[in-house]
């Protein structure tokens, strides 16, 4: 976000509500970090002044607790259980419906979401990297998903540089953070008295111009840059490399898979909170009168039983094969599909695993333990 320092503005804290008001005036439903059920979730802000200050999230394997930031910053929390994914890839939505007409013939009709314009304030560099991967999947040439596309094009993304990574974060090792580099409309870096603000798209630029910000000083930009470097240096977790394809695929019979399977609940929480996981199931919901039916897409997981069903048998009947599928798809075969790993280092799968299984630890044990 600092590639064109001469175009960066400085937004004092007092002006943050004007940004929200401006986005609302442009027709955006503004979502921002909100405290709910012990976590930070993205919810609609009731008023421009509604962005909470001083929230922080302490994270560790299987552990997430809200705490207070002694410096009362707006974005001193690293991330919550979800950010963009549920807004672009809906947890459940109708794909099409069918009705029986008076003559008894079936009529099929596509159902497209009535997507609102939504602005999300406070997405992270890891979230943007994940969104780019979701785009690669859902919007790939010739296989564009119209439901995803419609939601996606209505998004306005206000990214914020991470200054306080959680203990579960490892975006520096995957190369996806903590400072946003692409994919945002606006990006902010929070300093003691306001934000260094830059635009990353034409619509972002148009919004930024209406705020008439003073240019950011070189000291402010340098402070933000250093803050990002410090946040990267503060991260304690890492993956053993960016391309682990061959290393993992040559360890498919490693005893570690049995060990992790003994601890894994196969609840699928890691896949649901993972911002790049895109697996879904399709189900039919017939109307009670027997004359219509809706075809629904719902989030699914490689940890579920039905996900492994092929005709006549299940390819992944046990937890060992499901955990192996998750890890080897995410970190290995993703390279074949998308040219990079499917992990952006957000650490959600570590924090939100009810038993605290740590993807970085499992990967290290598989790889650094040598060939079985």
């Amino acid at each position: 976000m600092f590639s064109q320092p001469d175009r960066a503005g400085f937004m004092p804290f007092a002006q943050l509500p004007s940004l929200v008001s401006r986005l609302s005036a442009l027709g955006y439903r503004c979502l921002g970090p909100t405290r709910e059920n012990g976590a930070i979730v993205m919810r609609e802000l009731e008023s421009p002044a509604d962005l909470p200050r001083g929230l922080q999230a302490e994270q560790a394997p299987g552990h997430y607790r809200l705490t207070s930031d002694p410096h009362n910053r707006y974005f001193a929390w690293s991330n919550g259980p979800q950010a963009i994914k549920p807004l672009s890839f809906a947890p459940q939505e109708s794909l099409w419906r069918v009705e029986r007409d008076e003559a008894g013939s079936l009529r099929f009709a596509a159902v497209l979401p009535a997507a609102d314009k939504q602005a999300i304030i406070g997405v992270r560099a890891c979230d943007l990297a994940a969104l780019a991967l979701q785009d690669a999947h859902f919007l790939r040439a010739g296989r564009r998903d119209p439901h995803y596309a419609r939601r996606r094009e209505q998004l306005f993304l206000v990214a914020v540089q991470c200054a306080e990574p959680a203990s579960t974060c490892f975006c520096a090792s995957t190369g996806d953070g903590p400072t946003p580099t692409a994919g945002y409309d606006l990006a902010l870096a929070e300093l003691a008295d306001g934000f260094v603000a830059v635009a990353g798209s034409d619509k972002g630029d148009a919004v930024l111009k209406t705020l008439s910000l003073a240019p950011a000083t070189s000291r402010q930009i340098e402070a933000a840059r250093q803050q990002g470097a410090a946040a990267a240096a503060a991260q304690t977790r890492r993956l053993p490399g960016r391309n682990l394809r061959d290393a993992l695929m040559s360890r498919l019979e490693h005893p570690r898979w049995d060990e992790v399977a003994a601890r894994c609940l196969a609840c699928g929480n890691c896949t649901a909170v993972c911002p790049t996981c895109f697996c879904h199931a399709e189900i039919d919901e017939p109307a009670l009168n027997g004359q219509a039916s809706r075809h629904e897409r719902i989030w699914d997981s490689c940890f579920g039983e039905s996900h492994g069903h092929l005709h006549g048998f299940n390819v992944r009947p046990d937890i060992r094969s499901r955990y192996r599928q998750w890890l080897t798809h995410k970190l290995a075969t993703w390279h074949d599909q998308f040219g990079r790993s499917g992990c952006v280092g957000c650490g959600r799968c570590i924090a939100w695993c009810p038993v605290g299984i740590d993807l970085t630890e499992e990967t290290a044990a598989l790889i650094e333990g040598g060939q079985p």
């Binding site: 012990g38 299987g62 259980p81 549920p86 008894g104 699928g268 009670l288 039905s306 046990d318």
Partner: protein
């Protein structure tokens, strides 16, 4: 309405009650207008809670609520099986024996003498058992109580001539689709969701509390791993036993988990 339908005649349906609280029947009754619409498509020949009474009727589909808990239950379930094309067990009592199956691990006869002034008036079997222990069951709907939408989905599938969708995934999948933060992680609560079958829509975690397993064990329920985590969260082995010995105490996965935790109590 004109046009072909999957089933040209109205299937005859019965809703039977065994040892139970009637809550699953109420889930059906609480469907309100949907139930009226459903009644247009089936012939409800026996459903005591709703009105029609003909317990001995020959039917296409029999929904059975409750466990087999008395000598009379034993006789009746056999009769119902013989007179029903399809038998669907609904609710925790019918699928695992229910809360009353807690007596299976105790001296039930002794309880009776302590509780009732005329114990000789009570005729109950030593064990409360699920319907499938006695007759062939074509489909099981778990839950305490089952949810109305689940019941509708089953009836709907059958009316269309399709197999009902059997969702044995964990409650966690529903929590996540609803966007509820995990209560185990964000509040350190011992939640049964990771080993419990979905179907309730993650009702309890959605209200910020723990799942207590009323839908019974999910497929591949790793109760060992969850019990170990409960221990790390500070639950004593006795409390872990109670987590698994509740509504579905006799479901094999929960029974085995409780037995293991009980062994830890004794050590």
């Amino acid at each position: 309405m004109k046009g072909p339908t999957a089933i040209p005649v109205k299937p005859r349906v019965a809703v039977h009650k065994f040892s139970s609280c009637d809550g699953c029947q109420l889930a059906l009754l609480n469907l309100g207008e949907d139930l009226l619409e459903l009644a247009e498509r089936v012939e409800l020949v026996h459903f005591a809670e709703a009105g029609p009474i003909d317990p001995m009727a020959e039917v296409d589909v029999a929904f059975v609520e409750g466990s087999v808990s008395t000598p009379e239950d034993l006789e009746r379930i056999r009769h119902i099986r013989e007179h029903s094309r399809m038998l669907i067990a609904i609710g925790a009592c019918a699928t695992s024996g229910g809360i009353q199956a807690l007596r299976n691990n105790a001296d039930g006869a002794e309880w009776v003498t302590r509780i009732y002034s005329h114990p000789e008036a009570i005729a109950s079997l030593a064990h409360s058992t699920p319907i499938s222990s006695h007759v062939k069951v074509d489909f099981e709907l778990w839950g305490c109580p089952v949810s109305g939408p689940q019941m509708l989905a089953v009836v709907n599938a059958l009316l269309l001539g399709a197999a009902p969708r059997d969702n044995a995934d964990k409650v966690c999948t529903e929590c996540k689709r609803h966007g509820y933060p995990c209560v185990m992680v964000s509040r350190g609560i011992a939640c049964m969701g990771p080993v419990t079958r979905a179907g309730c829509g993650a009702l309890c975690p959605g209200l910020g509390r723990d799942c207590y397993g009323c839908y019974g064990p999910a497929e591949n329920a790793n109760t060992d791993a969850l019990a170990a985590q409960f221990g790390r969260q500070g639950l004593e082995p006795r409390a872990v036993v109670r987590r698994f010995q509740s509504i579905n105490s006799q479901a094999p996965a929960f029974l085995a988990a409780a037995d293991k935790a009980r062994m830890a109590c004794d050590e």
